[in-house]
Amino acid sequence: MPGKLKVKIVAGRHLPVMDRASDLTDAFVEVKFGNTTFKTDVYHKSLNPQWNSEWFKFEVDDEDLQDEPLQITVLDHDTYSANDAIGKVYIDIDPLLYSEAATVISGWFPIYDTIHGIRGEINVVVKVDLFNDLNRFRQSSCGVKFFCTTSIPKCYRAVIIHGFVEELVVNEDPEYQWIDRIRTPRASNEARQRLISLMSGELQRKIGLKVLEMRGNAVVGYLQCFDLEGESGLVVRAIGTACTLDKLSSTAAFLPACNSPSKEMKEIPFNEDPNPNTHSSGPSTPLKNQTYSFSPSKSYSRQSSSSDTDLSLTPKTGMGSGSAGKEGGPFKALLRQQTQSALEQREFPFFTLTAFPPGFLVHVGGVVSARSVKLLDRIHNPDEPETRDAWWAEIRQEIKSHAKALGCHAVVGYSESTSICEEVCILSASGTAAVLNPRFLQDGTVEGCLEQRQEENLPPGCGFCHIPYDELNMPFPAHLTYCYSCRKQKVPDVLFTTIDLPTDATVVGKGCLIQARLCRLKKKAQAEANATAISNLLPFMEYEVHTQLMNKLKLKGMNALFGLRIQITVGENMLMGLASATGVYLTALPTPGGIQIAGKTPNDGSYEQHISHMQKKINDTIAKNKELYEINPPEIPEEIIGSPIPEPRQRSRLLRSQSESSDEVIELDLSHGKKDAFVLEIDDTDAMEDVHSLLTDVPPPSGFYSCNTEIMPGINNWTSEIQMFTSVRVSRLSNINLTNQTLNKNFNDLCENLLKSLYFKLRSMIPCCLCHVNFTVSLPEDELIQITVTAVAITFDKHQAVQTTKTHVEKSLQRASADNEELLQFPLELCTDSLASHPFSPAKEHLESASSNSGIPAAQRAVSVEKASPLTEGHFRQRSAPACANSTVGVVKMTPLSFIPGAKITKYLGIINMFFIRETTSLREEGGVSGFLHAFIAEVFAMVRAHVAALGGNAVVSYIMKQCVFMENPNKNQAQCLINVSGDAVIFVRESELEIISAQQPIASCQPACSGGEIAT
C-alpha cells in the first residue's frame, strides 16, 4: 500500500439553479478514485453550499496514483427521480507524487459539464501521503519529473542528458463503440475525457519507467499528442528527452560545486572517461526487454534496434581533417568519437530540446525530416500498438540515416506529428541534424563538464554554424565559404534549423517570422489510390514550401532560419502546407545575394519591361527589409575571407524523404539541379503569381515584430507586460472553380489577414513582439480551412532597443538575460551570486507558503483568504472605493515561452496536461460557432488557471494548445470541439520583488495568485 490519497470537499459557489420551483439547488458531491466512491451530505437549498466534508481517504497503489485522475462530480439531489449531474472536475494528482513539486492541491475549480460548460465552482483540498517503496520491480515511476519546456528548466542544472524516450498507447475510441448509439452525448464525452485522462497517466508512468531505467530523474521537452483515428482507435503518444537534473536553488547541493570551480576547470576535456562503452546511461538490451515486458508496444522498436547495427554511426574516414581547419581537425575527430560512443548505445539519438546548455551543441548540419502515408483501415490488430510503433520506428530510422548522411550523430529539436483524414494518415517527423558534445551524455564525468567548455577556445558564437559533414564528400551540392566570424572553418551560405537560436550566436539586426504557405488540390479517392496520390504530391509540396522559404528569406536579406516547423495537412480534396520559422542574419554566414528574375521570352519588349519592373520591386523590398530589420553587417574585405569555394550552389541542406504504405523511399534533391539559387525563372503565369505572392506579404506595422522562437533575436529589454492568446479562424472556400492558384491566394490571405488582425488587436502593447507564434492548419471538412494561432505578445522598452541595436554584437551574448539564461551560461558564478544577493533558501520557504496570494499586503491577505470562502458575497461592506481592489481571484499568467520576462521562476509545480470536450445542441442560442468556441476556449484557459492556482502557482510556462478539433453541423444546430493543452505550472517572483524580499524577508509579496493560500494559513 504505497500511498494514501486524501480529499476534502469544502464548498461550492455560483451553482446553477437546478430546481425551477425554488430557484435553488440541493447539491452533493461524489468523489471517485479508481473504483472507490465517497459522497458528501446533501446541502439543501443553496447555490453556495458549505459541505465542509470529512477527509475522504483512498488507499491506493502508486501505479494507480499515476494513472487515475481524481474525479469529482457535483450532483443535484432529487428525491423522486434520478439525481441530475451539475458537472465534473478532474484533478491530475501527479504533481503531488514528487517531492519537489506541489505538496497540496487546494482551491476553487470550475465545475465543468461537456454540454453546458462551466457551472459554478467547487473548493477542494487534495493531499497524498506516499510511503517509501523500495520494490525494484515496481510498475510505477513516481518521482520522475515531467517538463513541457524544451530547454533545461530554469531552476535546474542538467547533469546528464540521457536522450530520447517515447511511448504510445492505444484504445478503442468510446465515440465509436456500439454503446455510443444508445448513450447520451454527455455520457459519451465523459467516457472519452476519462479514457484520455487515464491513457495520459499510463503513458506518463511508462515513460517515467524508461527514464528510471536510464537512471534519469526527469523528462524535458515532453510532448504528448492524441491521434483520433476514428474507427481504428484512439492513440495517445508521447516523446521527450530523459535527463538527470539537479536543483539549482537548493544551497546544499550547490555549495561544494561553488567552492571548487577552479579545480574542475582544470580537468582535461576529453579523456575524463577511460572506458566510455561501459556507461550505463543507456540500458543494455536484455534489461530493456525485461522491464518493458508489460508494454507490448515496445516489441517493434526493439526489433528494429537489432537491425540498427548497419546504420550505426561510423565516422567517415578523413572527415575531421578534411572539413576542419588546422586546429579544428583533431579536435573534431576526437569529439566525434566521444559523441559517438555516447550516442551509439542509443537506438535513436534524438533530443526534443530546442535550447541547450552552453557547449552542448557543437555543429548543426541542417533540417532532417521524414514523412510517411499510412492507411488506418489496414491495421491488422487495431487495439494493439505494434503497428503504430512500427510506423514510427520506421520514420525515426529514416531521420537517423538522414542525420548520418549529414555527418551528424544526433538530431535535436526533434518533433513528431500526424495529420489524419478519414482512413489516411500522414506521419511526420523532423529535427535538426547535429553534432553534440559528449560530456553531457555520459555518467561519471558530470561535475565540471560545464566549466570545461570554457577552455575549448572555440570562436564565440559561430561554432554551431560550421559544417559537420565532409566537404569533399558532401551529401548534396553545397556552397561553402570560410566562416565570417572565425574565418577558419567552413560554413554554408544558408542554415535551416528546427531549434531556437543558440544564446551565444551572434546576429545582426532583428529577426522576423517567415511563413511559406501552399495548397494543392487532389482528387477525392479511396484507400490505396488516395494514399498514392498523396505520396506523389508530397515531394512537390516540400519542394515548393522550401523554395518559398528560401525566397522569402532572401527577400528579408537574412541567411538562417530557426524554429522551422513544416506542417502538411491532409483533407478530402486538398493538401495544405504551412511552414513557419524565424529568419535571422547570422554574422558567421555570408551575406545573402539578392533575387534575380529571368524571363523566358526575351524578345517581347513589354514583357522585358514588366520583368525589370518586378526586379526593381524586389530590390526595393530587400532594401526596405534590411532597413526595417536593421541588417547592416560590417563590411569584410573579400581577401580576408578568401574567395568562395567553387561548388555548385544549392538552396539548403534540407534532407527529407517520403514513403507511403508500400515503404518505398524516395529521396528528393532539393538543390534544384545546377541552377543558380538566386535566379527565379518566370516562364509562365504560375511563376509570375509566385513572385507576386512573395511581394504580398506585408511587414508588421511599425512597432511590431514577430517570431516563432522563444526570444526575438535583437530584442533583449522585455517589460513584464505579456498577453498570451489563441485565435481561431475557419474559412469556407467557395467551391466554384477551385484552382491551385485561387486556393493558394485564399490561404495566403487567410494567414495574412489573421496576422493583421492580431497586430490591430494588440496595438495598445506597442512596442511589442509576438513570440512563439504557432500556426496550425486543419481541414475539418471539404471546403473548410481552420487556422489556430497561439502566441504571446510581449511589450519591450523602446529606448533601450534603440541603444542595443547599435551594439548588437556585444549585446547578443546577453540577449537572453531577461530569462536568467545566465543560469546556464555561468551556472557556478550565478550560484554564488544569488547566494550573496538574496539569501535564497530561507526566503524561498516563505515565498512558497505565501505564494498563493496576490500582491496584496499581508494585512489584506487575511481578508482575501476569508473571502475565498463561500461567504464571499457578504464581505463587501464598507468599501470606501468600488475599485474591486480586493478581488479574490489571483492572476495566473500563461505563456508559450519557457520564461516570464522580468521574473524568476522559483519552483516547478508539475505538468499540466488537460483534455476537454465541449458539445452543444443549441449552437444558435450560444452565439453560433464563434460564440461557442470563444466561450469554450475562455473556459479552457480558466480551468488551466484554476489548476495552476490550486497547485499554489501563478503561471504556466511552455503552454501549448496541442489540439483544437472543431466540428460543426449548423443544420442540426450542433457543434463539438476537443481541446488538448499542456504546460508547466510554476511559481515566479518578479525580479524587483526578489530584491525587496532579500531586503526585508517577512513581506513576501510575490505576484502570485489565488486560493491555494488558505492552506498556508
Binding site: 458575497e873 468599501r879 468600488p882 474591486c884 478581488s887 481571484v889 460557432v929 470563444h934
Partner: protein
C-alpha cells in the same frame, strides 16, 4: 471566401474602451464599425475594414458574454472565466451602470414596471438614446431597485455593496430608487427645467431627513420610504396656515408677503407653489434665501406653536431643496 468562425481569446480579456462605449450606446456591429471608421482609426493603424469588422465583432461577443456577470457585479469579481485586472473590472461595472441624463429624466418617478418598459420606444425617439441602451438603463434601474427595495441599512451603501458602484453613482441610484418607490412625478411640465442633479440632491436630503432611517438605522426599508409618522405629523403644521391668528402673527414676524402656501407634504408641486411666483417676480436667489431663513426661523418665536422639532425637520430639508431648485 468567408470566415465562418473568427475568434480571439486572450489570457487577459482585452477590453477596448471605445468599443465598449459603442456597445453600451446600443449600436449594432455594423453601425459601430461605421463610427470607428469615421473616427479615423484605419488611417492611424493602417488596418483594413475587414480587420475592424472582425475586431468589433469579437469585442461585442466578449461584452455579450460579460453582460450576464455585470448583472451581479460581485460575480464578475469572483468568476474564473475572464481574467480581468481589477481596475478594468471597475471600469466595466461603472460604465455599464452609468445612465444618460435625458433618459433618467424621462423615467424618474415612474413605476419601474412592464408598462413603462413598453414606453421605452417613445422615450428612445424623444431622447435620441437608442432603444437598446434605453432597455439596458431601464433594466439596470429595475434590477437595482429589486435588490435593495426590501433591504436594511443605508440605501446608497446597499447599492454600492451589491453593485460595486462608485460613491457618486451609488448615490444617483439611491435617488432613482427613492423616486421610483415614492412615485414622485418629475415629468410634469413645470418641473422640466430641473436637472437630474437637482432632483438627486433633493432625494438625498429627503432620504437623510424624512425617512424612517433618519430616526432609527435598524428599520426595514429605512431609506426607501418616507417616514409615515412624520407625514402624519406634518398635518400638525397646517395650523400655521389654518389658524388665522397664528398665520397673521407669523406673517408679521416674517415681515414679508407669504406667497407660498404650505400644503400637506409630500407633493413636490407644493414646493412650486412657492417657487413659481418668486420666479415670475424674478426674485434674486439671495432674497429667496433670506426669506426662507426668516420664514423658518421666525416660527420659533410663535408662542402658540408646539411643533418646533417637527418644523425644523420639515423646513431644513425643504429650504435646501427649494434653494437648489430655484434656478432657470
Amino acid at each position: 471566401m468567408t470566415n465562418e468562425l473568427d475568434i480571439f481569446v486572450g489570457n487577459t480579456t482585452l477590453i477596448d474602451e471605445d468599443v465598449y462605449r459603442l456597445w453600451l450606446d446600443g449600436y449594432s456591429v455594423s453601425d459601430a464599425v461605421g463610427l470607428r471608421v469615421r473616427s479615423g482609426i484605419l488611417e492611424q493603424t493602417g488596418a483594413t475594414a475587414g480587420v475592424l469588422q472582425s475586431d468589433t465583432m469579437d469585442h461585442y461577443r466578449t461584452f455579450h458574454m460579460l453582460e450576464r456577470l455585470l448583472h451581479t457585479p460581485p460575480k464578475l469579481l469572483h468568476q474564473l472565466v475572464f481574467q480581468i485586472p481589477p481596475s478594468r473590472q471597475a471600469l466595466l461595472i461603472e460604465r455599464y451602470y452609468a445612465f444618460d441624463e435625458a433618459f433618467v429624466r424621462e423615467v424618474l418617478g415612474k413605476k419601474l414596471s412592464k408598462g413603462t418598459k413598453k414606453d421605452l420606444d417613445d422615450i428612445s425617439t424623444k431622447t435620441g438614446v437608442t432603444l437598446k441602451s434605453c432597455r439596458r438603463q431601464f433594466d439596470n434601474f429595475k434590477r437595482v431597485f429589486k435588490v435593495v427595495e426590501e433591504m436594511r441599512g443605508s440605501l446608497a451603501g446597499n447599492i454600492q455593496q451589491h453593485f460595486l458602484l462608485s460613491d457618486r453613482l451609488a448615490r444617483d441610484y439611491a435617488a432613482v430608487v427613492f423616486f421610483a418607490n415614492n412615485r414622485f412625478e418629475t415629468g410634469k411640465k413645470k418641473l422640466q427645467y430641473l436637472t437630474f442633479g437637482d432632483l438627486a440632491f433633493c432625494a438625498e436630503l429627503m432620504i437623510q431627513n424624512w425617512t424612517p432611517g433618519a430616526v432609527d438605522s435598524q428599520v426595514d426599508d429605512m431609506d426607501v420610504d418616507l417616514d409615515k409618522e412624520f407625514l402624519q405629523d406634518l398635518k400638525e403644521l397646517k395650523v400655521l396656515v389654518a389658524d388665522k391668528d397664528l398665520l397673521d402673527l407669523h406673517k408679521s414676524l416674517v415681515c414679508t408677503a407669504l406667497r407660498g402656501k404650505l400644503s400637506v407634504f409630500p407633493e413636490m408641486e407644493a414646493n412650486f407653489k412657492f417657487i413659481e411666483p418668486c420666479r415670475s417676480d424674478r426674485w434674486p436667489l439671495n432674497d429667496v434665501r433670506l426669506f426662507l431663513n426668516q420664514y423658518s426661523a421666525s416660527v420659533h418665536s410663535l408662542d402658540g406653536f408646539r411643533h418646533q422639532a417637527l418644523w425644523d425637520r420639515y423646513m431644513v430639508t425643504l429650504r435646501s431643496c427649494l434653494l437648489r431648485m430655484y434656478h432657470d
